[in-house]
Every structure is written in structure tokens, then in C-alpha cells.
Amino acid sequence: MHITVRTRDGDAHPVEARTGLSLMQNIRNAGVDELEAICGGSLSCATCHVYVDSLPPGAELSPMSQDEEELLDACDDLTENSRLSCQLVFGPALDGMRVTIAPEY
């Protein structure tokens, strides 16, 4: 399974993804280090902000918690596709999804 990650330079990278890990972990494991993820996935930093560009047909993302909403709300580059990638658990339904790493805060 894979996801496509567009980095800040505009390049798209196919990234192998594992079920059960967060999107953030999958992106980091693939060596895309511009996704800072300073807090390691504990909803404390907003440095794993991505835009979800597209999902496979029928796929849905888990709803946002209030904490995630508040953190994203504080980001300058918020769009309606914004998510914190540490909060999205990857699974087969998301195989093929495309995301873009948001600008540095």
C-alpha cells in the first residue's frame, strides 16, 4: 500500500504505508524529514500539518477531535483540507491517498 506525499518543493513522492501507523509515522519512516512532528504525535505542536488532496473512492477520514481542531485553527495556513497527520491512522481504505505537506508554520 502507498500514499503520495507532495513536499514543499512541489515534488510528489510515493511512500510505502503500513496499516496501524499514523500518516505522520508513515511519512517520517519514508525519510520525508520536512514534516517536523516535534511532539511525536501527542497533539502538542501542529508541526505535522498536511493537506489531504484526495482520497480513494469511498474512503473517509476519522473525524477531528476538539484538540486537533483547536491546534489547526491556530495555524496560519489552514484550509478546509487541513489535518494533523499524527491523528490519521493509516489503513487499507486509505491506500492511494494523496497529501501535501503544509508550509512551515
Binding site: R18, L21, R28, N29, G31, D33, I38, C39, G40, G41, S42, L43, S44, C45, A46, D67, E70, L71, D73, A74, C75, D76, Y105
Partner: protein, 411 residues
């Protein structure tokens, strides 16, 4: 006799050590890399120990910094369960507790710290815990089912986070702090008083301004804690959260320059120690350019290790760190940016009674740090003020309706 040689040997497999290995490969370092650590497990998220892991909300597999295959895939040799006892700087070798010797081209010292322990009578009884590594936490978790009353010694972040988790698990928790307020070493009084009120509201008892005279026991196990004034607080388990001692002895014995007051090993802005080809990062390293204290955080460990790795890879980038910290207690999310160390004024932004506010620390008129409680916006926007050292009129800072990002130099 030498048992192997690595172009880069990393000692300590916590956040700094793991990041050093990751960054070496990301920077294109092609030499051999060994990541040696004293724990039996692969590198993991340490801040979660006193939070989600203790609470049973996150299993260990989800705390691994990288999946097990990552290390061999990136040609990093993990060497768990080993401790370095001596560094031979001239020979470029280290000696381990198991008497093996390992050669290095570059050495990155990320050995972190060991928890400070009690020295009062009764300090050796069963049921006294630290929360520093997985094994510490596992011992504590195993003891919880048959424990009702728990004493936490030390009102710092680790102690308070543990108190929050344990009271959430239905335990009777008493926190003992030697100073007259919690978080006294890291935050100003309004933040301390806010957290004290929260803990009390959650049923945690706080004993401030009192020290521990003795750990009282029965049949070799803890039964209580005797305070200096004589009272005995009953407890089946005692958690000691009174800070760490940096693990730097082998480096200092080899001639590396120490930070004043035994705070750690001194490093420059490329994380070099004074020994040739020896770098240091994380809880044991003290930046020469900083305020002379250890910055004990995941963020600092990661940044320093990254800096060392880039320098070793021939791509030096001097570190200009703006520290970040966080602490989760109950439903309160504290995010800190900057260092309040040496501040001369604080400004409260928002009402602590609303459980969402920030405390801004000023030094010579410039924003030096912010403690943000349930105010992610202030944290993200305030980071810029700290980075730029912006001077802002305190009256403006106190106006919580004006976003920090709209605050330009005004004082």
C-alpha cells in the same frame, strides 16, 4: 582488544541517539553507524511514559520511534543492553561494561541522565520508583493493581503528570514538594498556583514546602513517607521525580570540558565537545551559548542530535534553538516556548479561571518565553515573538483579544 569499529558510534538510544542515526543517513552519511543503548528495546517516545503509557492508553509498539525494520534498512546497527564505562579519546575507542572495546571515527554522546535518587533512611525499600525509562514504568504499572495510596516526591512535570494519571486511575495521590509551590524551577507563580488548584480539584493532596525525612517500611516494602515535620503519609508506592543527573562521567574523565556546576558536558553550536571528533546531544549536553542549564526536552534532544549529525556529515548548520516543551495533565494541554530562565517580568493573558490562558515572560522588555494552557494559538503565534525577541508593550500582551501575531515591536 577491539570488538568492532564504526565510522560513527552513537552512545545512548533515546531521542537524541535515535535522531543522530536518522539524521546521519538523511544527510547522506555513508559510513558505518552503531546506535548503542543500555535499554533492551529499540528507541521509543519517552515523554509518553508519564502520560499515555502509564495511563494504559498507548501500547508500547505504538511508542517506537521507528518500526524495527527501519534500523537495518538504513544500515544502522542497534546494540541494545550495553553501557559505555570509559572513553579513550586519543585512541578513539570506548570501553563497555561488558569489557568490550569499540572503535569510532566520530562519537556522539547521547547518554542522557539517570534519575536522582533519595538518600534518606528507607531509600532502598521495595516500592520506590522513578519514571525515566520503560522498565521503570513497567514496574510501577505492575504494582498498581495492589496499590491504593501513592506518594509522589517532587512537584515538577514528571511528578505532576504521574499524579494526574494515577488520580485518574482512582488512586489516592499525595505530592510532596520541598519548595513552596509546584513547578517552581520552571515556571512563574501564576502557573504554579493554577496547576495546584487543578490537582486539588481532582483530589490530589499537595504537601508543599516540606521535605522527606524517611521512607517508612514494613517487611522490606514501603508503607509510608515520613515528612520533616514528623507526619507519616501512608503509601504503598512512592514515585521519585526530583530530576536527573547527567551521564557524562566517562566523557569528563577523558578530558571533555564540563559545564559549570556539573550540569553536563559543554558543547558548541555544532554540538562538539572539547574532545576531537566527540559530539554530545540531549539531556546530558549543555550549550556553551545558552544560559548554562540542561534543556531536558524531546525537542532539544532531536535538534542537537540533528546538528551533530549534519556536522559529522560535512554539512554543518549551527544550532539556534528556541526550546519547546509540553505537558499534558488531565484535560489541560500546556505548551511552552522559550526559556523563562532569568525573566524579569510576567504578563498574564486571559483568565486562568477559564482554564485557557497564557503566561508571557519578558526579559529586558523582550518576549523570552510563553507558557500556554489550552491556548494553541498563543503558542504557535508566540513562538515567533520569542524567536525574534520582540519587545511588546506589556499592556498589549495582556489583552487576550489581540492575537499575538498582530503584535509588532512596540516597547
Amino acid at each position: 582488544m577491539t570488538h568492532g569499529h564504526y565510522d560513527c558510534l552513537i552512545v545512548g538510544a533515546g531521542h537524541a541517539g535515535a535522531q543522530a542515526a536518522i539524521s546521519l543517513r538523511q544527510s547522506g552519511f555513508e559510513g558505518s553507524v552503531c546506535l548503542l543503548g543500555d535499554e533492551p528495546v529499540a528507541p521509543y517516545e519517552r515523554p509518553a511514559l508519564s502520560k499515555e503509557y502509564l495511563a494504559g492508553k498507548k501500547e508500547f509498539a505504538r511508542l517506537l520511534l521507528r518500526p524495527a525494520e527501519f534500523w537495518p534498512e538504513h544500515d544502522v546497527t542497534l546494540s541494545p543492553g550495553r553501557r559505555v564505562t570509559a572513553v579513550e579519546a586519543e585512541a578513539h575507542t570506548v570501553t563497555c561494561a561488558d569489557a568490550t572495546t569499540i572503535g569510532y571515527g566520530a562519537l556522539v554522546w547521547c547518554a542522557g541522565g539517570t534519575p536522582r535518587t533519595l538518600h534518606c533512611p528507607g531509600h532502598g525499600l521495595d516500592g520506590i520508583h522513578a519514571i525515566r525509562d520503560k522498565a521503570d514504568c513497567d514496574r510501577l504499572i505492575a504494582a498498581l493493581p495492589h496499590s491504593r495510596r501513592i506518594v509522589v516526591i517532587g512537584g515538577g512535570y514528571v511528578g505532576l503528570e504521574a499524579a494526574a494519571v494515577l488520580s485518574g486511575l482512582g488512586k489516592q495521590v499525595v505530592v510532596i514538594e520541598a519548595l513552596d509551590r509546584v513547578l517552581a524551577r520552571v515556571a512563574a507563580e501564576p502557573l504554579s498556583r493554577f496547576y495546584e488548584a487543578e490537582h486539588r480539584a481532582h483530589g490530589v493532596e499537595l504537601r508543599l514546602g516540606t521535605s522527606v525525612a524517611e521512607i517508612v517500611g514494613r517487611d522490606g516494602a514501603v508503607s509510608g513517607v515520613r515528612l520533616a515535620e514528623g507526619t507519616v503519609v501512608a503509601a504503598e508506592q512512592v514515585i521519585v521525580g526530583i530530576g536527573i543527573e547527567p551521564v557524562v562521567e566517562p566523557l569528563l574523565a577523558a578530558g571533555a570540558q564540563a559545564a559549570p556546576g556539573g550540569a553536563g558536558v559543554l558543547v558548541d553550536d555544532l554540538c562538539r565537545t572539547t574532545l576531537a571528533d566527540v559530539y554530545a546531544a540531549g539531556d546530558c549536553a549543555v550549550a556553551r551559548s545558552g544560559p548554562g542549564i540542561r534543556i531536558e526536552s524531546r525537542h532539544n534532544a532531536t535538534e542537537q542530535a540533528d546538528t551533530a549529525a549534519k556536522a559529522i556529515s560535512g554539512r554543518p548548520e549551527p544550532l539556534r534553538l528556541v526550546p519547546l516543551f509540553w505537558s499534558n495533565q488531565y484535560d489541560l494541554r500546556l505548551q511552552t516556548v522559550g526559556l523563562s530562565h532569568g525573566h524579569d517580568r510576567t504578563v498574564l493573558r486571559g483568565d486562568p479561571g477559564s482554564r485557557s490562558f497564557s503566561l508571557v515572560y519578558l526579559k529586558d522588555g523582550a518576549v523570552a518565553a510563553l507558557d500556554c494552557v489550552n491556548t494553541a494559538r498563543d503558542y504557535l503565534q508566540g513562538r515567533r515573538l520569542v524567536e525574534a525577541g520582540t519587545r511588546v508593550d506589556p499592556a498589549l500582551l495582556a489583552d487576550a483579544r489581540t492575537p499575538l501575531k498582530d503584535m509588532a515591536e512596540s516597547a
